[in-house]
Subunit: 224 residues, 2 copies
């Protein structure tokens, strides 16, 4: 059983919702292969304690984004994915709050930027496929998990929450049904604060209650 040398990398699909759009962080490659194409932030598994640690480290190194929710997506290892060598890539999904965003490119890249998931440039390697996989995952996940709250600050309005669902699902949802269902679910803590941002009625702020969420059944409870 000949074992050819294999390299292990991590690539991260880092998502955020900005102005009602689902966006993703890409870095522009400075070198071959795929020089000048946009790619997912990624790099080699090194002396990290875990693959997830590697994903967090690489994401921070390449984009300056840290302290975020991370989960493993899928591992790609087909022959020929990388023209140089056999590369096995564990892909990760990162969910960012608007707060977290202060992108800064590393020396290895000639740029780092947000791109709308629905209007991506041509991507390096098989990264298009990885983004599609991530997009599918977050669509499912938002219906049965608390993933949406990883895309929001600690305090948010019901409209903010609805915008996250609409951006992720890619379609409008009925606002009366949306509010009814979320308020009934018990996972929202109503705060004694409101926004104050224009010449119209202020919106109430809410927080997320992990304790209440933990008591929900683990089937889709937030589907719209």
């Amino acid at each position: 059983m000949a074992i050819e040398p294999i390299k292990v990398t991590v690539d991260t699909v880092a998502l955020a919702v900005q102005e009602g759009q689902l966006e993703i962080v890409l870095v522009k490659r400075k070198r071959e292969p795929f020089k000048n194409l946009w790619a997912l932030p990624g790099g080699f598994l090194s002396d990290d304690d875990s693959i997830e640690d590697a994903a967090a480290r690489v994401l921070f190194e390449e984009t300056n984004v840290g302290g975020v929710y991370l989960e493993q997506l899928y591992t790609f290892g087909d022959r020929g994915r990388d023209p140089r060598a056999r590369v096995v890539t564990a892909s990760y999904l990162a969910l960012l709050r608007q707060d977290d965003l202060e992108l800064r490119a590393s020396a290895d890249a000639s740029g780092v930027a947000w791109w709308p998931v629905l209007a991506l440039p041509q991507l390096a390697f098989d990264h298009k496929r990885i983004v599609e996989y991530a997009h599918q995952r977050i669509k499912y996940k938002i219906e049965y998990s608390a993933a949406a709250f990883n895309l929001l600050p600690d305090k948010f309005t019901l409209r903010d929450l609805q915008s996250v669902y609409e951006a992720v699902l890619g379609r409008p949802v009925d606002n009366r049904n949306f509010r009814k269902k979320f308020l009934k679910s018990g996972v929202l803590r109503e705060l004694d604060e409101t926004t104050q941002q224009g010449s119209f009625r202020p919106a109430r702020l809410y927080g997320f209650s992990q304790e209440e969420f933990d008591q929900l059944p683990d089937r889709p409870v937030f589907s719209f």
Copy 2:
């Protein structure tokens, strides 16, 4: 960035339902580490075209089981999983029909056997965790996918189908509601055949219709 040598392996959780119990294939290790403990069938990624191919090859080599449904589960890569070296393991779920079963151990193992998922022996490495992950996955998956039909022969009775659900979910389900829901879903093709296996009413045989299944929404439709 020092890159220590990393090995990539695949481990497979191969499941089948036998006499109403969910069971899994384990091999008994002939060597250190974990000599004489039971472990998942697994081995190194070699010159396979894909990781999934490697999982299929290794499963066949170690257990003589082939031609089965395979899907990737999760990739484990924490430091210290294997005392010898840094090992990154892509784990796979295999679903077997009772037909497929003609276990035969390879020279590397001192045994291969079916074990009930609910009564496993002590396992090598972190394989217990991998089995738990697989078990969770199949529990979810059976509710929204056609996974159950990968655990059944081409022709089966409604009772067979219900037994698969009960074994996977680990609890009884209401048999009137079960039949009603499955028959209404349209994914079963009623055959002009019955079983003939005792001094009692014969059961009608059914087949699975992939075409009808493909038209279902991709949310849980087989939850009980």
